[in-house]
Symmetry: C2
Subunit: 306 residues, 2 copies
Amino acid sequence: MPIHFADRLAAAIDRKRTPAVVGIDPVVERLPESMRGRDPDPQAGAAAIEKFSAAVIERVAPLVPAVKINSGFFEVYHEHGVAAYYRLVALAHSCGLLVIGDVKRGDIGSTAALYARGHLTAAGDERRIPDAVTIGGYLGRSGVDEFVRAARISGRGVYVLVRPSDPTADVIHEFGESRRLYQHLAQLVSEWGDATELRGACGLSLVGAVVGPKDAAGTAALRAMMPHTPWLVPGYGAQGAAAAATRACFLPGGTGAVINASRSVIYAYEDPRHMVRGAAWEDCVVAACREFAAEAAALAGISGAG
Amino acid sequence: MPIHFADRLAAAIDRKRTPAVVGIDPVVERLPESMRGRDPDPQAGAAAIEKFSAAVIERVAPLVPAVKINSGFFEVYHEHGVAAYYRLVALAHSCGLLVIGDVKRGDIGSTAALYARGHLTAAGDERRIPDAVTIGGYLGRSGVDEFVRAARISGRGVYVLVRPSDPTADVIHEFGESRRLYQHLAQLVSEWGDATELRGACGLSLVGAVVGPKDAAGTAALRAMMPHTPWLVPGYGAQGAAAAATRACFLPGGTGAVINASRSVIYAYEDPRHMVRGAAWEDCVVAACREFAAEAAALAGISGAG
């Protein structure tokens, strides 16, 4: 039996002393000038974002437990981008990183079984398959079950979208009277992952949740509803009210959540704070990643980061 | 300015005298024995489902206005399957069909913009891009807007998931007290597509909805909430209560909806009713498609089908 996803992630967080995850969201227009391909030719575009992403992954690998690779940025280039996505998953694994495939797939049972096969258990080179993927639960239990089954047999995990951080999602997620849709989803996701056989030695389930920390009280209430659910937290904040909401994502002991930052790290060379004295773009990324890793560790209350 | 998606679809339905759409959901295990590849090798698997799908598309092209190609079945084979998906879109176009890419993508604004670019407006060979794609609206307005913008400039369309036909989706979609989530989504999708500049000469919007006809009264109520929204209808029924619910999907005059059938057509050779006297598998598919096209026309009240 492969080692449970939550246990592998906990061990990686422990090794790196931070729950920080770097998000790989590459667009040609924002690459360092030396790395821009001849977009919009799909092969050149895909090659450019792959080369950049590979350099970022290699540089951040010593500093964080995992990267999150966002499929949307690669699908722009059709099969060329998809091939790059899978090669980058393999590269990240060979650098000792865990990989979250941010694919946000979801469908009803029979089609979900195919998505789960492609994204979590496809035969062939194991290194090409992420350790977890993001999925939507909106099409119901049968679809989620297929992903959970695939994750269980392969020692992988899923993060179900529960509360987006984007304010334009409120029109959907604040829906409901005695209870909001995101609270309803949180309860379902907690139940879907609650069975003992879905939990690792660390106590956490392979069924996780994507939860944007919109406010401290609401986040704490969701956290209480999901005691065994690992969270993937986008849109984190390091200051003030945002920091309080992000702190509420963790379980006691600083476990139970990873925090993602994408553009603030991978495009750090656009930030005059990092881009000083003709620094190489890679060094700016490393500096921003170090800072992010330390911030995330502090929010989780993990000591010895850095 | 390209011709509006809803007008192109209406013209195709008028030409073929049926609102029937054949769904391309190929799995190696169910292919005619002569066509099975050496699965699970990804290249052989992708080649097998591509060859089968191409033969189905060529045979059904004279009989229906459009095909719906389900991305999940191709993503099993990673970049090899994705390349096959895009080649099949191009093939269907060259056979005179419209294509709905059943990709069910959805994300917040900035990532949705990338998905929209890849799936609706990618530069390069126009024939490789579907005429419409299915999307989820669950991550809010900003993501949907990106798809709508891409569809508008390219004469394409989107179908937003509103009411799944799968019963295990009820736990999500029957949520809500004075109003159910699917009714809330229906209202939003109707509003998102209501602007005059999003509507074609036929009056219908480029913002459509995926609506499973679960019951006649509920379907009629949704139809009344969405007078300008073209529907993509999965899980249709030709008899009894299911037929009444499917009839309720159409606007007066039999417009406003296309009906999808996948496995009952593409695997017709598994059905003893079609597989008689050593018929070729392709002929079974054609016979089942003819029957489906006539049934769908009858449900819509379109005369002269077949």
